[in-house]
């Protein structure tokens, strides 16, 4: 049951062949079988989840239908605040922090009757591509527990992969939903910037962060997005306008669509199995009736550089509030300043410290123009390149990640190598456009490969339309086989 899709579970619950409580039990059972090896969760809220499942069942019994997520077990990345439930963003500086309010996405999920299973692991403050930067221990890839699940939403990706949740929420600043989805063999999607409220998402880089779903299937992704998105008056960057129906293009095929293959996202640094898998899918799309052309977006070559200035710069300000005064870790100190500086040095892990220093430097007097200012110009150039490309094609495609899941520890001593994990995903964060990763299959070592479909702003329907075809053509339906451990 825990391997059910949302669509399958929703149908069964409405048929009366499955209850939300039974489904939750099976999901919790899966968690207890896999957590010791995978460590997807930081915190499972068994009591809260059981109550929510019981409520969903009562609602079903009363004929109350709150939509596709009613009774569905959902895992929440632990950088989204949950009222009364510890939220740490996997940082020591927030150890024991219990928020007094719910993030808007959490409110929306609760109102949709979803069952919140617990909070999933991540790289501290979502900074990383492996979950190894968590202050509470790394998560592991269900396909090979010596490898990383990707990150920063590695916990949610792993949970969906093993079935300890049917949906995981992630946040994506430079690829933090799509890259772990790719490495864990699930579907991960970053919506158009401004369509899913960031209220209650512990900010990493405000102009890039978006919350999105990790799911088993493309249809599940579209259904979850339809619940998550919509205008939120509490987020000033929230889109006010007409939201399209994400499912509108499902089942329409790709006949007559123009698909652009990004020239800059291939070649050196890309694993052969990744490249061949992606190339085969492109051929299949062509066979399915799409017109495939190559597109060059030259600014992509410096997108990573721009990202590693803009994101840390914003982060340096966003993380300034963690000062040991109103919440979180406090170190002793004779003055406010020494208390703050020690609390922060003790509370932040090395990657977060590194990025705060990097961002502070990039904004500081004398360096701003050469670094931060110039990075914003690159951002303009990237948007211009996308605009040119989308004038010619409907969607762009590429690998999601240049490599499959890497060994734990392999990149922890080399920040730049770790940063290169996000080279394919970063451009859509800088442009604000939607993108999705769909699993293609496994490489020669049995590790998942992901395929990225990018679309223009608010192009979610066509993005899902193509993604659904990719999913169907890939025919990937394997699940990771974990060696069972006694629980």
């Amino acid at each position: 049951m825990a391997t059910l899709s949302i669509v399958g579970a929703a149908r069964a619950m409405r048929d009366g062949t499955l209850t939300a409580s039974t489904l939750l039990r099976s999901v919790l059972q899966k968690a207890s079988e896999t957590e010791a090896q995978v460590h997807a969760y930081l915190n499972i809220d068994r009591t809260g989840a059981e109550e929510a499942a019981a409520q969903a069942d009562a609602d079903f019994a009363d004929g109350i239908d709150r939509g596709p997520l009613q009774g569905i077990p959902v895992a929440i990345k632990d950088n989204m605040v949950t009222r009364g439930l510890e939220t740490t963003a996997a940082s020591q500086i927030l150890a024991g922090y219990v928020p007094p309010y719910d993030a808007t996405v959490v409110t929306r999920l609760r109102e949709a009757g979803a069952v919140l299973v617990g909070k999933t692991n991540l790289d501290e403050f979502a900074m990383g591509s492996s979950t190894e930067n968590s202050a509470y221990g790394t998560s592991y890839n269900p396909w090979d527990i010596t490898r990383v699940p990707g990150g920063s939403s590695g916990g949610s990706a792993a949970a969906v992969s093993v079935g300890s949740a049917l949906v995981g929420l992630g946040s994506d600043t430079g690829g933090s939903i799509r890259q772990p989805a790719s490495l864990c063999g699930v579907v991960g999607m970053k919506p158009t910037y401004g369509t899913v409220s960031r209220y209650g998402l512990i900010a990493f880089a405000s102009s890039l962060d978006q919350i999105g779903p990790l799911t088993k299937t493309v249809e599940d992704s579209a259904l979850t997005l339809s619940v998550l998105w919509g205008h939120d008056p509490l987020d000033a960057t929230s889109f006010r306008g007409d939201y399209p129906d994400p499912t509108a293009g499902l089942g329409r095929g790709v006949d007559g669509l123009r698909i652009g293959v990004v020239r800059e996202l291939q070649g050196e640094g890309y694993e052969p199995d990744v490249e061949s898998s992606v190339a085969q899918m492109v051929d299949k799309l062509s066979e399915a009736g799409a017109e495939v052309v190559e597109q060059s977006l030259p600014s992509f070559d410096i997108a990573l550089s721009a990202y590693y200035l803009i994101a840390p710069a914003e982060a340096s300000a966003n993380l300034a509030r963690f000062d040991g005064i109103r919440y979180g870790h406090r170190a002793p100190g004779d003055t406010t300043e020494s208390m703050m500086s020690r609390s922060r040095a003790e509370g932040f892990g090395p990657e977060v410290t590194r990025r705060i220093l990097l961002g502070t430097y990039a904004l500081s007097a004398g360096y701003y123009d050469a670094f931060y200012g110039q990075a914003q110009r690159v951002r303009s150039a990237i948007r211009a390149d996308f605009a040119r490309a989308y004038a010619d094609v409907d969607v762009l495609v590429s690998p999601t990640s240049p490599t499959v899941a890497f060994e734990a520890g392999a990149r922890t001593q080399d920040p730049l190598a770790m940063y290169l994990s996000d080279i394919c995903t970063i451009p859509c964060n800088l442009s604000g456009d939607p993108a999705i990763s769909v699993p293609l299959g496994l490489d020669r070592n049995g590790l998942p490969i992901g395929f990225q479909v990018m679309a223009p702003a608010l192009g979610e329907p066509i993005m899902y339309q193509v993604a659904a075809v990719v999913e169907q053509l890939a025919g990937f339906d394997a699940s990771p086989e974990l060696a069972m451990v006694a629980s």
Partner: protein, 482 residues
């Protein structure tokens, strides 16, 4: 050597909106600590700001009142610095594209009106409040600090003048002028004692005729017009003495110590003011359309400058027009009401800023509670103009009216204050006066006109002020044969 002080002033105006700048917490002075706080103004993880449209209306109003250009586009920036009472450790403020730019404020000086340029007015949020415990509340000897975030996020407008103020008195006049405007607009409580206006001054000196500005010193912590004036005067003297004794002025921030009446260096560490401004990514750009600006413009009350001009046009002399235009609203409203029903503007202004205001002070009556309408005042003025009562008797009539004794004519009759225009009773009063002052009368006959006023006054006294002074004058002249 003649030194010229060059002063620029930054005024922080706390707006009197119902809710805060970026969240729905109440703006209220004097509430229990940390009761008007929410995730946003406490800087809790995940919280986001959403700007208050009323605060934007208010800054546009201030900008228009200060003759500024309202920028068609404007953005918020983050100003990054760590301070215990700044919850996010950055302040949402504005940097290179403020809402208002390039205005001016005319201030009265001993030499006439002086125009002070306004560089900009921008929107930002206030900080919380620190209370330093131990060491008598002084920051440098405190044992610990208590933090209250009720004020955190209250909307502030910072108005930055150009360095076009040249004396302590001008500094004060500028600050008072600004206070008058924000009070008039109703956008701020404008209560200095509650910190709704706060002043910082940048002061330098240079030799008269120099083009280059001297090294500037920033002075903080002036909480009243008086302390602003004293602090600026003190700092100008300090800098002159420093330079004249062979020293140099160091660029620094100094704190005004109200008790000691001196400015004190604040020991700020070097390099601590790199604010790393960048565009606030949690907020969208703002576009101030013509419609928006016009909508605000239509709600603007008449401002002191325009009002003064209007009074002058109506025939009130400039000094009196200035006094009237900064008078309390009830006085101004009475003026408008009286003039509307035909009162002579000059006389109405005189009576209202003079006797009416004095009477309310004397009797400790609130101006809002005065028993006086525009038409009643007009009736009183016409009694004077028609010589029905004399100007001095009219003050008595006014007292009666304000005490609720009835219409001016009723009071004048009841209090026996109607002017005597019959020659008979006046002639007998003249007889008495001449008898009592024979020398003076002889002088008058000899052509010494200067005693005429004295004798008229004596006759008026003898008639308890009721005689028509003009008639007294004529009769005395004819008696003396001049």
């Amino acid at each position: 050597m003649t030194w010229e002080p060059v002063i620029g002033i930054e005024v922080h105006v706390e707006l009197a909106t119902d809710s805060k700048m970026f969240c729905g917490c109440a703006v209220s002075f004097g509430a229990e600590p940390n009761t008007n706080v929410c995730p946003t103004c406490l800087g809790l993880p995940g919280a986001l700001p959403v700007p208050n449209s009323a605060a934007l209306d208010a800054i546009i109003a201030i900008g228009l009142a200060l003759n500024c250009t309202v920028s068609p586009k404007s953005v918020f920036h983050r100003k990054n610095y760590f301070y215990a009472d700044l919850p996010k450790n950055y302040q949402i403020s504005q940097f290179d594209v403020p809402v208002c730019v390039d205005g001016y404020l005319d201030i009265p000086t001993d030499y006439g009106s002086h125009r002070v340029g306004i560089e900009r007015a921008h929107m930002e949020e206030d900080t919380g409040k620190s209370t330093h415990l131990g060491g008598g509340g002084r920051i440098d000897s405190a044992q610990s600090t208590l933090l209250d975030f009720n004020r955190s996020g209250v909307p502030l407008v910072e108005v930055v003048s150009r360095p076009e103020i040249h004396s302590a008195a001008q500094a004060r006049a500028y600050a008072q002028g600004l206070r008058e405007i924000v009070a008039e607009l109703g956008v701020s409580d404008a209560r200095l004692e509650e910190g709704s206006l706060r002043f910082d001054a940048n002061i330098s000196i240079r030799q008269v005729g120099d083009e280059v500005l001297g090294t500037k010193v920033e002075i903080k912590n002036m909480n009243s017009f008086r302390s602003l004036e004293l602090a600026v005067a003190y700092e100008i003297d300090r800098q002159i003495q420093q330079v004249e004794s062979g020293g140099v002025v160091i660029q620094e921030t100094r704190h005004w110590d109200e008790e000691a009446a001196v400015t004190i260096s604040m020991r700020t560490k070097e390099g601590s003011s790199d604010y790393r401004y960048f565009a606030e990514p949690d907020l969208t750009p703002m576009e101030m359309s013509e419609q928006w600006i016009n909508r605000v413009r239509e709600t603007l009350p008449e401002l002191p400058d325009a009002r003064r001009a209007r009074y002058e046009e109506a025939g009130v002399e400039p000094v009196l027009a200035a006094v009237l235009s900064s008078a309390e609203p009830p006085i101004r409203h009475l003026f408008d009401a009286a003039v509307a029903v035909g009162a002579t503007p000059r006389a109405a202004a005189n009576w209202l800023t003079g006797e009416v205001t004095a009477w309310s002070r004397r009797t400790e009556t609130d101006l809002d509670d005065l028993n006086l309408s525009g038409s009643t005042l007009t009736k009183l003025l016409s009694l004077v103009e028609s010589n029905t009562v004399s100007p001095s008797a009219a003050k008595e009539v006014l007292d009666g009216v304000l005490r609720g004794e009835g219409d001016p004519l009723v009071v004048a009759e009841a209090r026996d204050l109607l002017q005597i225009s019959d020659a008979g009773p006046i002639e007998s009063a003249i007889d008495e006066t001449i008898a009592a002052n024979p020398d003076a009368f002889e002088s008058l006959k000899a052509g010494e006109e200067k005693v005429l006023g004295f004798l008229v006054g004596q006759v008026m006294r003898a008639t308890s002020g009721k005689a028509d002074p003009k008639l007294v004058n004529e009769l005395l002249r004819s008696r003396a044969g001049i």
